[in-house]
Amino acid sequence: MATQDIEPGASQRLDKETREKLVTVIRHAVLLTWSFVVLFPLYWLVSMSLKPPGQANSLPPDWIFLPTVYNYIQLVQQSDFLAAFANSLFMVGASVILVLLIGVPAAYVLSRYDIPMERDVLVWILSSRMLPPIAVVLPFFIIFQELNLFDTRIGMILMYVSINLSLVVWVMKAFFDGIPETLEEAARVDGATQFQGFRKVVLPAAKPGIFSVAIISFIFAWIELLFGLVLTSFKAVPVTLFVYSFIGSRSIEWSMLAAASTAMIVPIVVFLIAVNKYLAAGLSFGVVIKE
């Protein structure tokens, strides 16, 4: 009797099993397809940078070619690319640290406390990123002139902070909302001050969120162009503007452009690999949804 009870159910379930196998197949299909979609342009970019000048755009494409680092050597030798690169790394890195220092605690407060008119405050914060940079670059220029921040690293760091602050506050608020308050309660009972509870218990639990916004902030600042263009002229010039230097008024140096673009991706890859494991280490060692 028992066997009869289970038989039809089981066979039906086996169907579901195959369906779940199908999910696995679809999963891999989607991931591989998207990998291709992502990789192809990147491959093209990198391969352009490794081709000798003149071969960059030939059709049919030279799928196979002898890679050369000529363009990179040019890039490093012929210009101040390295200096600008280092300068950008410094400014962007510092801005990410600063924006986290400012934004994460604020997000925590927004998440844990009853803020009067919370919704309006949040929208206000968000409103800082609602206008196209184009529309606000002039006032910023004026402020920077007045405060003697023009063409200074400090100024650019602050600028990058202002670009990313709303993002950090919003995203981190959402993450803090998901962290059970009992953890802090336990910490506070353990004699931790509110601050210690925040730093030692809540922050570690919010790691994936923090590292995610750190990466995103880094990228946003790293590829920022307009403010860098308008608010600097000599001393604090970010590397983004360099990429432009290969777009001449009557010709584009494709290989160099590609080399510079590729070089600009490198720090992000390095950063990503460095924090990769934190992106996934959640509250509970991550959900793994199998089947």
Binding site: E20, V23, R27, V30, L31, V38, P41, L42, W44, N57, L59, L101, I102, P105, A106, Y108, V109, V123, W124, S127, S128, R129, P132, I134, A135, V136, P139, S162, S166, V169, W170, A174, F175, D177, G178, P208, G209, S212, I216, W222, I223, L225, V243, I247, I252, W254, L257, M264, I268, V269, L272, L279, A280, G282, S284, F285, V287, I289, K290, E291
Partner: protein, 310 residues
């Protein structure tokens, strides 16, 4: 029994009281820098744009300014093409947001479900990369890759598929812009969703598996609701960011052909830096700001605070 000792109240050395000031007003300290920065980056630019939009010619001296009422606003919506660019922007925003959210979530969920942790790491890094390509590189190299005559993408489509490659930039410019943005910014959604997924406690997922929920229902009923704040915030931020897309589109199509991809941001740019109509540009910006704030408020009211933050 000894009397209770409370370090907090009995310790009145300078350091102690400093600590008290720090701890007692902690929330204030926590938000103060943020508020400071926010005041600086919201009020002045907003006021400046508003001022510019109301005067005839840009001048920094308020007393010299010739106020012209709403003339700039009228110009913006007559020959300024503001309305058209609003429509274009909304089209791009809605479709790109849809694609990016969907794709971002599917990818995040799929990657989270991959067994091998090395493969997982690989996908995680790879899928974030498109975001790291500077807009100028993307636009310039995108243009050449999409070029009908010498671009590799039409070449590949023409040689490897039975279809003829469309003219990305002239026949389907809007779609091209949307797809390129999707390529570029799906990583944003991916990374936040991925982090959000890893904050869902294992036991919940286990409970739902035992409850017999099939995969997708587990997502719909248990996982997504749990990470709803994260999903909501990521989507809202992307929405806001999409509203100010500029660099890539400008580099790719310059807003054309004609004004087919004339986003509001491009329109503002052209009014300000090409046409030198700074008042008109500011007028568009002001209307746009109000518009986006309204959208954000609606979205937050309709989706956000019901269920996410109640």
């Amino acid at each position: 029994m000894s009397t209770p000792t409370k370090t907090e109240t009995t310790n009145d050395t300078a350091l102690g009281s400093l600590r008290d000031v720090w701890n007692d007003y902690l929330p204030y300290w926590f938000v103060a820098p943020m508020v400071l920065v926010m005041v600086m980056i919201t009020f002045f630019p907003g006021a400046y744009d508003l001022y510019l939009s109301l005067i005839a010619e840009p001048t920094l001296n308020v007393f010299q300014a010739e106020f012209v009422g709403l003339r700039n606003f009228r110009t913006a919506f007559t020959r300024g093409g503001a309305f058209h660019s609003f429509v274009i922007t909304i089209t791009v925003v809605v479709s790109a947001l849809f694609l990016e959210t969907l794709l971002g979530f599917v990818l995040a969920a799929f990657v989270a479900g991959v067994d091998s942790s090395r493969a997982k790491s690989f996908y995680r890094v790879l899928f974030i990369l498109p975001m790291a390509v500077a807009p100028v590189s993307l636009a310039t190299i995108g243009r050449i890759m999409l070029n009908t005559e010498i671009g590799v993408i039409p070449y590949v489509i023409n040689t490897l598929t039975p279809f003829a490659a469309p003219n990305f930039l002239s026949d389907i410019p809007l779609l091209t812009v949307i797809l390129l943005d999707t390529w570029n910014w799906t990583p944003f959604m991916f990374i936040i969703f991925y982090a959000g997924l890893s904050s869902v406690p294992d036991t919940l997922v286990e409970a739902s598996r035992v409850d017999g929920a099939p995969l997708w229902r587990r997502y719909v009923h248990v996982i997504i609701p749990y990470m709803k704040p994260v999903v909501f915030v990521a989507t809202l931020i992307r929405l806001i960011d999409l509203f100010r897309t500029f660099g890539v589109v400008y580099g790719l199509t310059n807003g054309g052909p004609g004004t087919a991809t004339q986003l509001v941001s491009i329109n503002i740019y052209e009014q300000m830096f090409i046409n030198n109509q700074m008042g008109v540009a500011a007028a568009i910006a002001v209307v746009y700001l109000v518009f986006v704030i309204a959208i954000a408020n609606i979205v937050i009211a309709k989706v956000g605070f019901e269920g996410v933050w109640d």
